[in-house]
Amino acid sequence: MTGCNDQYGGNGDWSSGYEQTGTNAITNNTYAPGYGYWHAPYRGWYPYPYNFYRPGFGYFHGGNYSDEPEASPITRSFPRFTSGGGGAHGGSWFGASHSGISRGGFGGSAHFGGS
């Protein structure tokens, strides 16, 4: 995520790599290769850091953009454990699912339909 550092307005050490705190709670903006950034308030992995600023779009959090950075008190959270059918982002966590299956890794960019 070269070039993101200056734009990041989050509240975790997202550049320090995968790190778990406590018993499987994941710190906001933890980065895991192949999975992305953990957005603790949304309990999911996303392609950009929490509150990543994208010109023309805004601040990214939980799969959406807003005009202002989000201020959430949740700095750590637990992944949802699912064995399939978890839907968008909720069931997505590397190696945590009982079945080894993660979901919700596509579909987060959807604005509307085809062309």
């Binding site: 992995w45 392609p47 979901r103 890794g105 509307f112 339909g113 085809g114």
Partner: protein
């Protein structure tokens, strides 16, 4: 070519809903409009068919140019995707369909506006709804429309080379996309293939087998995705695309054809072709090369959908524009096509390509200068 005003069928809503066009009046705004139709001559249909076939082959040649000249960054294509686009290109991965948009008035040559080569919609209305409209209203007339038959034939061809179930899906909670997927699944089944739906959000990845799986954890070997490649390459599962564990339809090489950055490449490779409009990567280039344009052009994002983020500038002043979330990858600048005008309506001719062959027409019209997702679909005959 004429636009003929007529009375709609008294039960038109029920008639089109019955064949899958349930999104005929989104948010109370008429989208399917059978209060008129376009009448073409068979010679005009031939012109559109030839333009579709010629342009499709030219786009493939232009895509080869992108590869040979390494223009991927110019088109805003992520570097991570390039090796896999190249492999998809070399394998000649199966392509189902696409839709050209042309400006055409029946007198001047059709001019290509763009090629919706990855996730084209307006399919149910073009392939099915207008065909049944023709049977109800003008049974003895013909229509440029063998889309349905060609889709079935294309699936049969795919089934021979790629055994296994076909999964299909788009985004959740989008009526038009859902109906498009339902329709394509129907053509798939009619081709004798086994199908199953899984929405793009529900597509799973099994870290043990390194395979994509559906909602029942069944391996997805072939996946028709009504979801753009450029979004997929920016999402969490993009890393799994590198495993090439699934045949995607449309294939990855279609990223080259669906990108509006191909328009300047086409113009450079086929200058002054009658079906092309001058197009450049920079508006200064356009002004320099086309002084007659006199500060008039259309700015289009390299990656965009439904006419979003398009700006029309005439004589240096903004004449029309649309909003949207696109443009991050940059814009291309295309000369303005003289708009066809039928009683104040500006039609855009959508020529469908199935399995590399032009096979149908869907016409959308607007009173504004930019065709967007609320432009009306009007049936045609010849």
């Amino acid at each position: 070519m004429n636009r003929i005003a007529i009375s709609p069928r008294h039960d038109w809503q029920a008639r089109v809903e019955k064949v899958g066009l349930t999104y005929h009046t989104p948010d109370g705004v008429k989208y399917w409009d059978e209060s008129a139709y376009y009448q073409l001559s068979s010679a005009e249909v031939d012109v559109l068919e030839k333009a579709g076939n010629d342009l499709h082959m030219m786009c493939i040649e232009a895509a080869q140019e992108v590869i040979d000249q390494n223009l991927f960054a110019r088109l805003g294509i992520p570097a991570a995707a390039v090796p896999y686009i190249l492999k998809s290109w070399e394998r000649d991965d199966f392509s189902l369909y696409g839709r050209f948009d042309f400006i055409y008035d029946g007198r001047n040559p059709p001019k290509m506006l763009e090629y919706n080569a990855d996730t084209p919609t307006a399919l149910v209305e073009a392939a099915v709804a207008q065909w049944y409209w023709l049977q109800d209203t003008n049974k003895n007339a013909d229509q440029f429309n063998s889309i349905h038959e060609k889709l079935i034939a294309a699936w049969k061809k795919f089934g021979v080379t790629a055994p296994g179930k076909i999964h299909l899906g788009g985004v959740k909670d989008h009526l038009e996309d859902a109906q498009t997927v339902f329709y394509l699944e129907d053509t798939c089944v009619q081709a004798g293939l086994i199908s199953k739906q899984v929405c793009i959000e529900d597509l799973g990845f099994d870290s043990r087998t390194q395979k994509f799986v559906d909602i029942d954890d069944e391996v997805v070997e072939n996946y028709f995705k009504l979801y753009p490649w450029e979004w997929m390459w920016h999402e969490e599962f993009a890393v799994h695309l590198k495993l090439e564990a699934c045949r995607f339809i449309e294939p990855m090489w279609k990223m080259l054809l669906a990108n509006k950055g191909l328009l300047p490449v086409l113009w450079q490779k086929f200058p002054n072709h009658p079906n092309l409009l001058p197009a450049y990567f920079a508006k200064d280039e356009l002004a320099q090369a086309q002084p007659a344009a006199k500060g008039s052009y259309v700015a289009k994002p390299k990656l965009s959908r439904e006419g979003a983020n398009v700006t029309i500038v005439q004589n240096g002043a903004q004449a029309a524009s649309t909003t949207g979330d696109y443009g991050e990858e940059g814009f291309v600048y295309q000369a303005i096509a003289p708009m066809a005008d039928f009683d104040g309506n500006h039609p855009v001719m959508g020529v469908w390509i199935v399995n590399h062959e032009a096979c149908g027409l869907g016409i959308r019209e607007d009173t504004g200068l930019i065709t967007g997702n609320l432009s009306r679909f009007v049936p045609h005959l010849f």
